[in-house]
Symmetry: C2
Subunit: 349 residues, 2 copies
């Protein structure tokens, strides 16, 4: 089983809050020109000059959003940042700073927090972000991570959810469903491990799925890719909650309908094989899986030639008037109303 | 005992995340010119034009930072916002927007969340803030509230912790220690209530203390008051973690020492009476109590005439070279090194 087994144990109690924040902040080195003042004061001071400020935030709770039995703390730190960046990327903006608050129960050691913040630091390096605020506090149970991401964009660049128009094409980046199947594989291995801790799992056949679950990437590159193609999306949203529910959000806020084509969904072969192995319908998982952190957007039909055949993007449907509703067109060419089941694990919200 | 007794119980499970966020956002109405786009998209879009962006954040956890046995949800929502505003006020900046993430266990109903957000809404009205982001999620245990506050200021106005200089005067707004004693009174009443639920508490003699604990105010007015006095602070910090530890932070970051005078500490008569009743040393409580949300700042000695006798402020000491250390001068005129004990309840951080 994938686990952190760190022999060093330094209790947080002895350290005190301020020394801990100072310690956790040490490895971080601000590099964004817009960061004026970072962790050392009551508030961070940022300078976005003439650009707009973007703000996204998220709250991750142990036992609800992650299971430390198969999610190493480094990966968790990395993923927690990525999930937030995805929201800024979905506005066609550039993420620049993050603040991190963590609540920890007394079973967590300094070394555990160091692992978590090492993952956060790697994400800040990969995405050129500055950490501008750290808060630490005690929790009564488990680990709680709250991240706020700041970003910037020129007004003209920003893409909202509500700009999709009739005849627009519906496009998704990358492939979908893999993160959810990665979670299924890890959950199964956890059960095997609980029954017999000596069984060594062979996860090679699921490497891509597990990578998508444990070390996802935020599609901050989509902005650059579309810019190079001279395409300005009309609406955009990230699909962390599952494709179907995000298609419905985008359509609802844009007051349009759409056709989504089952045979156009971009699915990885490893994903399809694993769905079969788990006896799960790949379309259902692709529509409801969640956590893929890909972007869903609409473009004008005149941009079709610019994007067709591009390996980064798949045209999966088209926008219709609102009165036409939101439908999935199946491989058998039947038209069924799209349902958003969302991705629910131990969550009730 | 102070308790919310709401007969209506609507489970959150039935509602779903997106309908809940939509519902909670309904009563809020953005009014800040800098708010371009609020709750409806992946991220909020703000426009601070030429001004700097300030960011503060906080994580509050049930059983660690608050006890719902005597903290009604409305007050909790209000106080959670106030605590964050205080950080922006301590930069001499103007808070303008907040984002709120809440994690709730399944014992919370829609009506409970409505109460919490009603308190948040009242704070946004009192302080002219816009709520620009709501996230809701399940928690495994209790209520978790994460708030991020955005603010704005001209570069020249911003006051950091590190600007205090030798001969500066050390000033605090309002009075101190009352919030901590309010908590002691409420804790005592909770114990009485647990033994005999029929005892009706008479809390009139402690009204001010309880008000300071349950419905504190952020000193966003200090910026305006000082502006009117034509005083620019050289350093500033909020004293939510207790006066002694914040004096030490300010001195450490400014690389100075100071003398703090016991007889100059601004204490309310109700606070002093209650300390006596609880057999607690009022100076110790005033120095270590915390949660007063007053501001501690330093000013040039030439500003003395402008501030002396002002009912909003108390000069409590003066800055010295770092080599002189940080000392409390007692009423008996003895000089003892200041110790930061901080405010610790069930927290270990």
């Amino acid at each position: 089983m994938i686990q952190d087994q760190n022999p060093q144990r330094t209790t947080l109690e002895k350290m005190g809050k301020f020394a801990l924040i100072h310690h956790l902040n040490q490895p971080f080195c601000p590099s964004q020109p817009s960061t004026t003042n970072a962790v050392s004061d009551d508030a961070a001071v940022l300078d976005f000059d003439h650009q707009k400020t973007l703000v996204a935030h998220d709250l991750l709770i142990e036992g609800v959003h992650f299971d430390l039995a198969y999610m190493p703390l480094k990966h968790l730190g990395y993923k927690a940042v990525v999930a937030n960046l995805s929201d800024i990327a979905a506005m066609n903006a550039r993420p620049t700073q993050i603040t991190v608050s963590v609540g920890v129960s007394n079973r967590f050691t300094l070394e555990a927090l160091d692992d978590l913040f090492d993952g956060i630091r790697r994400a800040t390096l990969d995405y050129t972000l500055d950490l501008v605020g750290i808060q630490t506090t005690s929790s009564q149970k488990g680990l709680i991570i709250s991240i706020t991401t700041l970003g910037m964009a020129n007004e003209a660049e920003i893409v909202y959810r509500n700009g999709a128009k009739d005849t627009n094409l519906l496009v998704v980046s990358g492939d979908i469903g893999a993160a959810y199947m990665g979670l299924q594989v890890l959950e199964r291995e956890k059960q095997v491990f609980l029954v017999n801790p000596n069984v060594q799992p062979d996860l090679e056949a699921y490497a891509y799925l597990i990578e998508r679950q444990l070390r996802p990437q935020a599609r901050t590159d989509v902005r650059t890719l579309l810019h190079a193609l001279e395409i300005v999306p009309t609406a955009m949203i990230d699909i962390s909650d599952g494709l179907a529910s995000e298609v419905m959000h985008l359509c609802k806020q844009s007051q349009v309908g759409c056709h989504l084509y089952e045979d156009k969904l971009p699915l990885d072969p490893q994903f399809m094989n694993t769905c079969e192995e788990f006896n799960l319908d790949s379309t259902t998982v692709a529509l409801s899986g969640g956590e893929d952190f890909e972007l869903l957007f609409t473009i004008q039909i005149t941009d079709f030639d610019k994007i067709k055949g591009n390996p980064n993007f798949s045209i999966i449907g088209h926008i219709l008037p609102q009165s036409d509703g939101i439908h999935l067109i199946t491989r058998a060419n039947t038209k069924i109303p799209l349902k958003a089941r969302g991705w629910e694990n131990s969550e009730f919200l």
